[in-house]
Symmetry: C2
Subunit: 360 residues, 2 copies
DNA sequence: CTTAACTGTTGAAACGTTAAAATAACTAAC
DNA sequence: GTTAGTTATTTTAACGTTTCAACAGTTAAG
């Protein structure tokens, strides 16, 4: 009934609590007789001793910078749910898969993961301080206000899909989004498309969408095409699922002028919403309009038609983020940027356009 | 640079640490002069004091049963990813949405959430003990081995989608899955279908799939139809995404005999995999075969064709789970079962069968 | 005018652990 | 045979908070 503490183990094994601590933590700076070690281990097993992490954290906090809570935080942007008026952090499966991968890898390294949603710009430095988190992984937001504090407290921080980080102070992990945007647009261009819509959520200078947008323009320029701002759909908050963009595209195509034959959506979830909306407007994918996405979430391969997309290995990205975190935690500070490769995955949502079809 | 502790605040305000503690925790058992309170609050603000949760947890652990870590655990079953050989806990968007909702509501009540994946049957009592978690929300698994310990330590536990709990010891939250299965099958029957496949992941006696299966049989019986075990697809581990079932169904239909005209998949994610597989086998949904799902994940409304499904309000379920947890945490133990209502959402994946079409 | 209860505050002990210094028991060196 | 150096272990003090008993000062009751 009563909680088993290190003292109980010590008494059972006939040694001091310190010795138990040394043995259980495999402290390399002390030497222990094999017999003592065995005796303590046996006692610990017998009593089913589980150390109190709170006490460990507190106890180890004496030496500044050596506090060990064995827990990291993962901060995920929170969006308002389209249906209910609730805030949801894992609306994009990209985040779910990423978080799963991080959690798995961290747990293998004996760390626990505290997840927290956040509104853009909201500070969560208090969580970090009050919980004495060993590190933080932040997705999609550059925590500008907290940066100084992070520096001051020297908390290992891994930034995912962020462009705000000036200089190489933090560990950063992302794809080459400009290249990715270029790859997507280029693929559509190669397939004969010329009027290509750009469909995106919020476009912010420190976000991935902005970079993918640049890449899209790069490809256009390479083909000698002028950029047409009327082809940009979205770009403001809350425009997440592409359905609205679909209606706008359908309307644009009906109103005459050169037809939009393809769309590049900056995330698969948007692409899927787009396809849905197009289908409701009576447009078929890929027969009437081609769609390419970004990310390759599980769902991209499962939907009908299969979504052609720029794949990034999300699980690998999560594992890598965790590994970078673990390295940083162990003092092997690999500050700088880690770039995850991408590749084009061709499925069924993009159709090759023949010359005459294009002119229609 | 140095950490601000309660002592610093006390010194700044000219009171004892105890007083600061009382004020900052709004302790109702003591009376404090408004002036003192104001002075302490000001000092705390000025120094940007953030209490150490580790110290709080440890300090409050003196009285058994009053330990406050202000953190709960959410345990999510982990499955092997279909593509990579990694373990993923949030493969089903149902979990993601649920977790998001729980996290949001818990955070509003000043609790943090530690997520952890788990293999079936794996114990996580150590996490609970070492972190002194205030409570645990467990999804989809009945933690039989840990039950005694939970009882002994009297840790508030909310079981989600579990049928293993004998008696009303724990708080439990789920849908009426038997009714849900009945609703799904009945809808297909009402639409004229008679050969209805049952497609599911693992069917275990303490899981929701088993209950949905019972409901499916109830509906069949109501229509005077014999149960045909050849219509059950899946039922074993790893058969998650319905694609394999699709191939089996297509094969069965080709080999003669009465044609399978509809399928009930026990989760939307399975239904979607099924639709994909069917489409690859050259079968169209709903023209050639109708499909009904379960859950109404975001994706059900976004895919093409829109998935007809048995909707449960997942966000509401998450909020409710969090609220039950908070009640339990506050001693208002509402042990027993909370049932979340369902409703049929008709979209485009089920087709009405005319008499002669059925006989084909 | 004594006793009892209340009000606002404090000091000391405790929570379970780790860090650093101390100790004791050997061994080796000169 | 003193000194110095290992090795295995212990003692003491901290970490930042809460709890509990105590206290002095005021008010109320009899």
């Amino acid at each position: 009934m009563k909680k088993v503490s290190i003292k109980d183990v010590a008494k059972e094994a006939g040694v001091s609590p310190t010795t138990v601590s040394y043995i259980l933590n495999n402290n390399k700076n002390v030497s222990i007789t094999p017999e003592t070690r065995a005796r303590v281990l046996a006692a610990s097993d017998k009593l089913k001793y589980v150390p109190s992490q709170a006490a460990k954290t507190l106890g180890s906090s004496r030496v500044m910078g050596r506090t060990q809570s064995k827990m990291i935080g993962v901060v995920i942007p929170q969006t308002e749910d389209s249906v209910d008026d609730a805030y949801i952090m894992l609306s994009n499966p990209f985040y779910s898969t990423f978080l799963s991968a991080v959690e798995y890898e961290m747990r293998r390294a004996n760390y626990h993961v505290l997840v927290t949603g956040t509104n853009r710009g909201q500070s969560y430095i208090e969580v970090v301080k009050s919980r004495a988190l060993d590190g933080v992984i932040i997705i999609g937001i550059y925590p500008s206000e907290d940066v100084d504090e992070y520096r001051r407290f020297n908390i290992p921080t891994v930034l995912v899909d962020c462009y705000g980080s000036s200089g190489g102070d933090f560990v950063s992990i992302r794809t080459d989004d400009r290249l990715g945007g270029y790859m997507a647009a280029k693929h559509l261009l190669e397939m004969g498309h010329r009027r290509i819509a750009f469909v995106s959520g919020e476009i912010k200078a420190d976000g991935v969408n902005y970079m993918r947008f640049q890449g899209y323009r790069d490809a256009l320029a390479e083909y000698g095409l002028d950029f047409d701002s009327e082809l940009v759909f979205g770009g403001y908050v809350g425009f997440s699922y592409g359905a609205e963009a679909a209606a706008a595209i359908a309307a644009a195509n009906k109103s005459g002028g050169r037809r939009i034959t393809a769309a590049f959506a900056t995330s698969d979830i948007t692409a899927i919403g787009l396809i849905k909306g197009l289908s409701e407007s009576g447009l078929r994918v890929p027969e009437d309009i081609s769609v390419i996405g970004f990310d390759d979430i599980d769902y991209a391969g499962m939907c009908v038609p299969g979504l052609t997309t720029i794949r990034q290995n999300i699980i690998e990205k999560g594992h890598e983020a965790a590994r970078l975190m673990i390295d940083a935690l162990n003092g092997k500070s690999s500050a700088g940027e880690k770039i995850i490769p991408m590749q084009l995955v061709e499925r069924a949502s993009v159709k090759r356009l023949t010359e005459n079809a294009e002119v229609v």
